[in-house]
């Protein structure tokens, strides 16, 4: 039978252990929140992994899933007070890796290598930050917390088995969530577009260098009246096939005015105009501006006086909006009461 050494009494005073726990728990909470945000929109995280060039050994999907697992594992262990030295050093390595990524983006931004609105940190779509903010906020939040956690590392204790069990369950749960999330109706939760949201002041870029772009500048018409906006990928075949129905809605002139917002390239836009013949107005927006509004395209919403009233996963129920049909049972709708 295997015997464990008796639990050693910690040599640290209470205040030091308390500070270490608080620091570790804070860092753990940051990691878990970041993992949660990414798990809700795993496709965006996969694209981020690809953009960062982290898929050089295994596919980006695998990298993303593993990264989420590691983040939850290390974060939840800290929350549960497991401050083993090897765990603290693993957390330190993770924090250093995040700072390397955000720091690299920040440096690219200052050198004019990367577009100003790209690479805004590791918090998925729930928080909007510039590269500089991403780096300094990450550093300011995580480094002190990590240092505090190092104030009172604890020795290995077999009694922590139940905590390890909880850590394992949490880690697996987040990984399963990330795997299933694309097919779950979580758009309002996972994105910054949900009923009640004010749209016009949603911006990217910085005012100091004149790169700040707001939705109110791209689509100022939203400020007055009721509008139906579809966020679309113009290269999507299925969306292309819906143009005839959208044209009919546009010409009918009933219901909210139709707009399509896209971050399509010039070639895509040209091909769409010539290949599909849209009669409705298409506005271009920077990808960074509209990316926080969706997990997959198309996604649509109705806004009244600049405020979102209803969101739809996919295309909107045009018959209902034009007042000439019944609700499409397939349409997933979220509306203000």
């Amino acid at each position: 039978m295997m015997s464990y050494p008796p639990p050693s009494t910690t040599p640290y005073p209470l205040w030091r252990r308390a500070l270490a726990y608080l620091g570790g728990a804070f860092l753990g909470a940051i990691l878990c929140l970041a993992a949660w945000a990414k798990a809700l929109d795993p496709q965006a995280f996969v694209r981020q992994v690809e953009a960062e060039g982290l898929d050089f050994l295994v596919p980006a999907t695998v990298v993303a899933l593993l990264a989420l697992g590691i983040e939850v594992l290390l974060g939840s262990a800290l929350i549960l007070g497991l401050r083993y030295r090897w765990l603290l050093w693993s957390n330190a390595a993770l924090v250093a890796f995040f700072l390397f990524l955000t720091g690299r983006t920040y440096w690219q931004h200052t050198q004019g290598i990367a577009p100003p609105a790209e690479g805004c940190g590791c918090f998925g779509n729930l928080v909007e930050r510039t590269p500089a903010e991403a780096f300094w906020q990450d550093a300011a939040l995580m480094v002190p917390a990590l240092l505090l956690a190092f104030l009172a590392p604890i020795p290995w204790r077999p009694l922590a088995r139940w905590r390890w069990g909880l850590v394992t369950v949490l880690t697996l749960a987040v990984m399963v969530l990330a795997w299933k999330a694309p097919s779950l109706p979580l758009d309002d939760l996972a994105t910054r577009l949900s009923p009640g949201v004010e749209l016009l002041d949603h911006c990217v870029g910085t005012a100091e260098d004149g790169s700040r772009i707001c939705l109110g500048g791209i689509l100022p018409e939203l400020a007055d009246g009721e509008h139906l906006v579809i966020l679309a990928d113009l290269g999507d075949e299925a969306f292309g096939e819906s143009v005839a129905r959208l044209n009919d809605y546009h010409w009918a002139g009933r219901g909210p005015k139709l707009w399509v917002l896209t971050s399509a390239s010039e070639e895509e836009l040209f091909g769409f105009r010539f290949g599909r013949g849209p009669a409705f107005e298409i506005r271009e927006a920077p990808a960074a501006l509209i990316r926080p509004f969706y997990r997959r395209l198309p996604r649509s919403f109705v806004a009244r006086h600049g405020r979102v009233t209803t969101t739809y996963s996919g295309l909107p129920p045009l018959d209902v909006l034009s007042g000439s049909g019944s609700t499409d049972p397939a349409a997933e709708t979220n509306a203000l009461p």
Binding site: R212, G217, N247, W251, E266, F270
Partner: protein, 284 residues
């Protein structure tokens, strides 16, 4: 008694006078075209193929040479109408059908506002279909290789009139824009030298929407102390030395200089109502 002199010459065949024949011929020569014209005027515009507006976004190349052609586009028809002396008849390029067709010139009606309609009785003759290659539309035009492609960009400093000539939509949108009267009155009274340097791209759709607003304000301010300058950038913005010097990240961007010093940068949100943004800045 009949004169012998008269009978000394062979008798001319008797011609029966038909006084109405001449009138009939005149009526046919003059009247038929008039009648056709009147009939034609009575034919209404086609319900779909109407409202073609001048379009300056594209040019036509025939066998590799830029053709002197006028291009129109109709949202309703979802089609381009191309007319020019090098074309035996106007050509329709349908974006919803993917087809290329010709229509008889007599079936095209130019309206006073510069737009063009097709008559309801216009018959379209198919010339086949087009293909899209990148940002070009290729089709065969009776043995000639035809390409519709974006107009070459305007680069560097541009005069206001050059901009208006470049794209008919710039003039149209400028005339349609209604500047804020109060802001304009305040701007006319500005007594400092103000220079607004507008970086734009003729390839940029947002510029196509907002630059005309500045053109309108420029026109309306006339001989005020506020001077507008327009600088066209290529798609790779940072490749332009002026853009690099002024650290331009996107277009349109307006840099406002007051008394020779940079006072502000206007981006998309300010340029939606440039006169209001300018008035707010100058009243600080």
């Amino acid at each position: 008694m009949k004169s012998q002199y008269v009978h000394a010459f062979p008798r001319r065949p008797r011609v029966r006078r038909r006084p109405f024949l001449g009138l009939f011929l005149v009526a046919v020569i003059v009247g038929v075209p008039m009648a056709f014209s009147v009939m034609a005027q009575g034919v209404p515009a086609d319900e779909v193929f109407k409202g073609f507006e001048p379009n300056g976004d594209l040019i036509l190349e025939l066998d590799g040479e830029v053709a002197n052609a006028d291009l129109y586009f109709s949202d309703r028809a979802g089609a381009f109408l191309i007319m020019g002396s090098m074309l035996s008849s106007p050509v329709l390029v349908g974006t919803r059908t993917g087809s290329v067709e010709t229509v008889h010139l007599m079936k095209v009606m130019k309206q006073a506002d510069g737009s063009v309609d097709l008559r309801a009785d216009a018959a379209l003759e198919s010339l086949g279909s087009f293909t899209i290659e990148g940002t070009e539309v290729h089709f065969d035009l009776k043995g000639k290789s035809a390409v519709l492609k974006p107009r070459p960009d305007l680069l560097g400093f541009q005069a206001k009139d050059a901009l208006k000539q470049y794209k008919p939509t710039y003039s149209k949108l400028a005339s349609e824009y209604s500047p804020n009267a109060r802001a304009m009155a305040a701007l006319r009274g500005v007594d400092e030298d103000v220079r607004v340097l507008v970086y734009f791209g003729t390839w940029c759709p947002t510029c196509g929407r907002l630059v005309p607003r500045m053109l309108r304000i420029d026109d309306d301010l006339g001989a005020s102390k506020i001077r507008f300058e327009y600088y066209g950038l290529p798609r790779d913005i940072t490749s332009d030395p002026a853009a690099e010097k002024d650290k331009i990240h996107g277009v349109p961007t307006g840099i406002v200089y007051v008394g020779g010093k940079e006072a502000a940068r206007f981006s998309v949100q300010e340029l939606n109502e440039p006169e209001v943004a300018l008035q707010k800045l100058l009243s600080k």
